[in-house]
Symmetry: C2
Subunit: 197 residues, 2 copies
């Protein structure tokens, strides 16, 4: 509409999740009209993060440091290891604010159809971590999907061979969730996993 | 949470309108986990646009070219000049798809309290454009706010002195708008501006 550089900016903004053509237009014009400083800061932050951010040596979450701030924190319980699929899962658990252990991030789940095997998920690295001793419990927090369950099962089998205790987080009706709005799969799981009180 | 570069990226993303802390987190992790190419492209697009985009020599809309694509388009009617407050207004009118004239972008409205006077809105440049001849109608499309109306009034007075015909776009109940949901100011205006049929 206006010029090639503005069209390219509107188009590039659509790489952001949840940003459609209308939002991209609004964002581009807002930055150019009212916040060029913010736009420059964002350009630098993006370029620097893409260049510098890799994975934590111990837990594989995103960080530009050798160890992420959780693994480097002496007050975290290094004997507890929670296995999750993504860094976003780490963030969600941290924001819940009760877990005091550490993490291991798979960056996905086993998916033979997509050619994603154990080595793509760092499971050899996880094996070495468990074999080195000092982990008292592995908490499996992969998603309750078919692939997430298969991944959890695979990891639990390998951990058991090393005599490391394994647990799986509970799945069921969310607290505050109203039964009538819960999907059938969750309800069925909640019934089959019921515990005597 | 993860590291300084990721925190800075999440923080910098909040320069985007409508992006709160949760969206910024989701965007940062999405780009770093799944679309680094998109992130690099966005970084370049932002930096290039901030550096290169200025204003069209004739209409003051955003462009990195001497003349924007509308002013440079020989099929547009250069004798019609629509005055708007922002480039976003140009986009909205273009997307409506019926206007075939050209524009003049004020980048704001008169606001003595904020120290914004005629020279900040390019009104001397507008005066020269009208004085040069060839404009058969100025269409005032500033917003129907107190400041937008005052700006429209100021421009119409100056244009009349140059004997250039001036019109104001119609304001009232939007097509398809239901009366019961229209604000009182719009309704009052719709009544006072009623036309005999
Ligand atoms: Zn770590
Ligand atoms: Zn122009």
């Amino acid at each position: 509409m206006f010029s090639p550089l503005i069209d390219e900016l509107m188009s590039a903004l659509r790489a952001l999740p949840g940003v459609g053509p209308k939002s991209a237009q609004r964002m581009a014009l807002h930055l150019l009209e009212r916040d060029r400083e913010g736009a420059s800061r964002l350009a630098t932050a993006l370029a620097t993060a893409v260049e510098g951010v890799g994975e934590c040596d111990r837990c594989r979450t995103l960080t530009e440091q050798t160890l992420c701030s959780i693994c480097a924190n002496k007050r975290r319980n290094q004997a507890l290891l929670c296995v999750v699929e993504t860094p976003a899962d780490v963030l969600a658990i941290e924001q819940a604010g009760t877990y005091q252990g550490t993490y291991f991030v798979l960056h996905g789940h086993l998916s033979p159809i997509d050619g994603i095997g154990p080595q793509d998920l760092g499971l050899d690295q996880l094996h070495s971590l468990l074999a080195a001793g000092g982990i008292e419990e592995v908490i499996l927090a992969t998603n309750p999907t078919i692939e997430g369950e298969a991944t959890a099962h695979y990891i639990s089998e390998r951990a058991k061979k090393l005599d490391v205790p394994v647990s799986r987080i509970a799945h069921g009706v969310p607290l505050g969730g109203e039964l009538e709005y819960i999907d059938g799969g969750t309800l069925a799981h909640a019934f089959s996993s019921r515990q005597r009180v």
